[in-house]
Amino acid sequence: MTATATILPNRAKRNLTIAKAMAEALAQEMRRDPSVLVMGEDIAALGGVFGNTRGLLEEFGPARIRDTPISETGFIGAAVGMAAVGMRPVVELMFVDFFGVCMDAIYNMAAKNCYFSGGQSAVPMVLMTSVGGGYGDAGQHSQCLYGTFAHLPGMKVVVPSNAYDAKGLMVSAIRDNNPVIFMFHKALQGMGWLGTVQGSINDVPEDAYTVPFGQAAIARAGRDITIVGLGATVHLALDAAEELIANGIEAEVVDLRSLVPLDRATVNASVKRTGRLLVVDEDYQSYGVSGEIIASVVEAGTVLTSPPRRIAFPDIPIPFSPTLERPALPSAEKIVAAVTDMVRGGR
């Protein structure tokens, strides 16, 4: 995917999971910059419930790898204060669903202090948080909430779909002088107990590198339709694109990678080429990412040969039972059906 441009010649491939790529980025930035530290629940001895801080306690010790009490308001607020006096804290909100107990610290404080200080006081912090469902954890541990965070001004929001991007986006996030919400999807994380979408594991250079924010990636080129995804839905779109070949349809897959800033230009240029747009988002359908992408294309005046469509999570809390949850999630089958209808049906 996006890794090809920076793969060094004569280097053996090094396939990593997103969890390992994140941990590597954190370790490298912590070695480079003594102001970087990591805080969160179970991020030290356990190495993070989702593995992304594994090995850090051993190397950096408990002063910089800090297990916190279950006090999201307290420790995310503390991160804002640390950032105000020159640290670069990386905090983990174990599940994005827990935002309900700490959103004030995030969007009323981290996101607004730079503005309210007229630029005097930056808030260089990263909030990394797990998103996504599909494994029967029900509606308080399965949401994506991309749109919720991207909607609120003052925070950058990134969503990696693969290990290469996860490392580069994490390095960029730590070096950024703004609050960055780093949303990693559990199905891509590489934790054995959750299953892992194999496409998320890819070649990751050992040396530190950055993936800039606001640059979507063309994950697969195609001429007939643009499928826009982010995080896990990129892989659903890629699977669907592979199947669609048999139907004689060449789908282009755009991986947004970053929601704030949003690379509208790449999406618009792709849709201009293909004339068709399908957005695939695991977040709730209404008032969210899918609507924003479609609006951006429509506002740009891009001529479409069929009405734009979206496949997103319906506007219901995420249910527990597999027979309730799975049909509600986006899937490659749904994408194949929608694309076939849009291209063949001319709608």
Partner: protein, 328 residues
């Protein structure tokens, strides 16, 4: 710990300056708001929370701090900002929504930031406590002798952030002091109606830290207790909690009819106004002469007049400036 004469005089002058500042702000606030009171009108729109009566809390604590120490304050921030050394001209301009304000008019009176002296405040109850713990933890990690102080009101002691921050500060033994300005009222709800314990200093014990209550709204008594707590924090002795009995001489905001106050309460509070009380003490104990008093008042009023005049004369920000500083 007793204040020295210079410390006493600094506390007095700072209290006088804060009071004078708020008197000018209140006058300006009413411009354009009569005969019909509409909060959106006049040179200072929006809510305005005055701190008159609470000045002893600010000076008694900030007398022990310098610019490098980190302070978070509340939606009622003027006295603390002035005591912490926030630039008075830029603060006044901010309150008038001017381009020359601390944030160029983006924040207003509830969102005063002066990074030069490590001061911030916010409009959300108890919000500044977490950042104070974080800043203090950073100081400790880096081996610096700086401390953080979070000012809150007594109403904030019933917020989740209060309890989380106290626990976190104690677990991490952060050099932070939490200062509760207990004026007895959370807008219209009394402390007795909202709080399960008579006084919040007792809550410190639940988090394994020292708690103190200071009565009498007396700057010297506050100075003594705060001095010990801040010195302890600076020396690595960890966090503490101080609750100060103080007076909200005004309403929650300007325009508050205060129908909820018991009859006679305001008169009693004004009879114990801390500024005349301190003036009387300084004169009686020979720490200040009448002439020195006049000079102090004149100096404070002149600084305030100048700040307000500059703020009024300053240009407003252009509409396009609203788009600046969303990101660093």
């Amino acid at each position: 710990m007793t204040p020295t004469r210079p410390q006493f005089l600094w506390m007095y002058e700072t209290m006088v300056k804060s009071r004078a500042f708020e008197e000018r702000i209140a006058t300006a606030y009413f411009e354009g708001k009569s005969p019909v009171f509409n909060m959106a009108n006049g040179p200072i729109p929006g809510e305005m929370h005055l701190s008159n009566g609470q000045e002893p809390c600010a000076v008694g604590v900030c007398a022990h701090l310098d610019a490098a120490d980190f302070v978070t304050a509340t939606h009622r921030p003027h006295h603390i900002a002035i005591a912490k050394g926030v630039d008075l001209d830029a603060m006044a301009a901010e309150i008038f929504g001017k381009k020359t304000g601390l944030s160029g008019g983006r924040g207003g009176h509830m969102h005063l930031f002066d990074a030069r002296v490590n001061f911030a405040c916010s409009g959300i109850i108890a919000q500044g406590m977490g950042p104070a713990v974080g800043a203090a933890t950073a100081f400790k990690l880096r081996g610096e002798k700086r401390v953080a102080v979070a000012f809150i009101g007594e109403g904030a002691a019933n917020q989740g952030a209060f309890h989380e921050s106290l626990n976190l500060a104690a677990v991490w033994q952060a050099p932070v002091v939490f200062v509760i300005e207990d004026n007895g009222w959370g807008i219209s709800v009394s402390k007795a109606q909202s709080t399960a314990v008579p006084h919040n200093d007792s809550r410190a014990a639940a988090y394994g830290m020292l708690g103190h209550r200071v009565t009498g709204n007396d700057p010297a008594a506050i100075f003594a207790v705060a001095g010990d707590a801040i010195a302890r924090a600076r020396a690595g002795g960890g966090p503490s909690l101080i609750e100060i009995e103080t007076s909200r001489l005004a309403g929650h905001f300007i325009g508050d009819a205060e129908g909820y106050r018991p009859a006679g309460e305001k008169d009693a509070l004004f009879a114990r106004d801390p500024i005349p009380a301190l003036r009387g003490r300084l004169l009686a104990e020979g720490m200040m002469s009448e002439a020195e008093d006049l000079a102090i008042v004149k100096r404070a009023e002149s600084a305030v007049e100048q700040a307000i005049a500059k703020a009024r004369a300053a240009p407003f920000p252009a509409a396009a400036e609203a788009f600046d500083h969303v990101f660093a």
